[in-house]
Symmetry: C2
Subunit: 205 residues, 2 copies
DNA sequence: TCGGAAACATACTCTGTGTATGTTCGTATA
DNA sequence: TATACGAACATACACAGAGTATGTTTCCGA
């Protein structure tokens, strides 16, 4: 497939990867507008020249970081689902839980849910999610409907709503102070389960 | 209460109001980062000096715009709810529907849901919503639980979720192309009703 | 071994924010 | 009614950061 890399290519890919890593940290910590490319470059002992060699502009750098974390997320979610090859319900549960887990992480949560919509524009962000998180959720929802675990609601809209549901829960959790985190997470799981159709049994009379 | 305004005060308030209006348009159309104060000032035949006289900085201007649209929204929602003084369920329905309506409007939707979290920072945005949309929803949810129309779920978390639910639906609707808008809106109402507890009857067997 | 191109660094331009200072004009006070 | 004062702006300047143009080094293939 891809032949052996020359030393130069290896160096180049290394700095590119280092730039992505540094940028991810900066963007996640200070936001898109709050990060100067100067600082990103300095983090890896380089100058902005290196950045503009590898990426067309600031937005392109962000886009690369964004697609990176999305790909990582997708892999983890697929792994989680693959642990239940015989039970679609359990697989869906695991997938959604893992996605929520990802959203809780400061880097993924902030990048994907806070910065991406303004850095890339809502339109592009929405289109991108089609290929990542949202696409995955849509498949899950479709399965759940086919299996009868969900009523035949409009798939796309329902999936998009679930997507936002998990995302907002995740980002809220990511910013919840440590002492409350466990309780809030439990509350969100209760609410999410309710919204996805589970009904609590009547209180013991 | 407030004594009669001098001519000077009237002029000042007029330009301040004009600045807010121009800024709202610019922010809603080009986003926070994409708006230059120069242009906002030019829109009302003034210079940036006027802006910086009335507002501490760009963020403060945005904050003022933001609080303005939130207040307008709250008024409209309260009016909608007040139309059903005898039926809390209907009042809650009307309130939520009106809120969704507001979220669909490009100015409110974009400012509150896209720009505010990054312009003000998620923390401040969350805190502000406590006093506006979210506070209102919380009251509604609390009522619905007391009346028994909702099970006793954790109020704060549930309200916050509903808040995001309506917001994401609204902003998505705001960006949906006209021919599809009616259908998508209908789909969202279906999904929202489902998530809020209504269960469709079984298909005729 | 040498020409060229990739991988950067350096230097410059331009836009936009924030600030410091100047100017006008209404208004209170003598 | 003359004047002093301060609010309401305008003008001018400093500075940061994005984007671009150009220079420099070093690897690699012919």
């Amino acid at each position: 497939m891809s032949r052996v890399k020359s030393r130069r290519e290896q160096y180049s890919e290394a700095t590119r990867a280092a730039l992505l890593e540094a940028a991810a940290r900066r963007f996640a910590e200070h936001g898109f507008a709050g990060t100067a490319l100067e600082d990103v470059a300095a983090d890896i002992q380089a100058t902005r020249g290196a950045v503009y060699h590898h990426f067309a502009n600031k937005t392109a750098l962000f886009r690369a970081v964004y697609e990176d974390v999305e790909t990582t997320m997708l892999t983890r979610v697929k792994e989680a689902a693959a642990a239940h090859p015989d039970d679609v319900g359990a697989a869906a549960d695991a997938a959604l839980a893992m996605f929520l887990e990802c959203c809780c992480e400061p880097v993924y949560g902030r990048l994907v849910w806070q910065e991406a919509p303004v850095a890339l524009g809502w339109q592009e962000w929405k289109a991108s999610e089609e290929r990542y998180a949202f696409g995955m959720i849509e498949a899950t929802v479709r399965t759940l409907i086919e299996v009868g675990k969900l009523p035949p609601l409009p798939v796309i809209t329902f999936a998009r709503t679930v997507f936002h549901l998990l995302g907002s829960a995740g980002i809220d959790l990511a910013l919840t102070a440590e002492p409350d985190k466990a309780r809030v997470k439990d509350e969100y799981l209760q609410v999410l389960r309710y919204m996805l159709g589970e009904r609590p049994g009547p209180a013991t009379p």
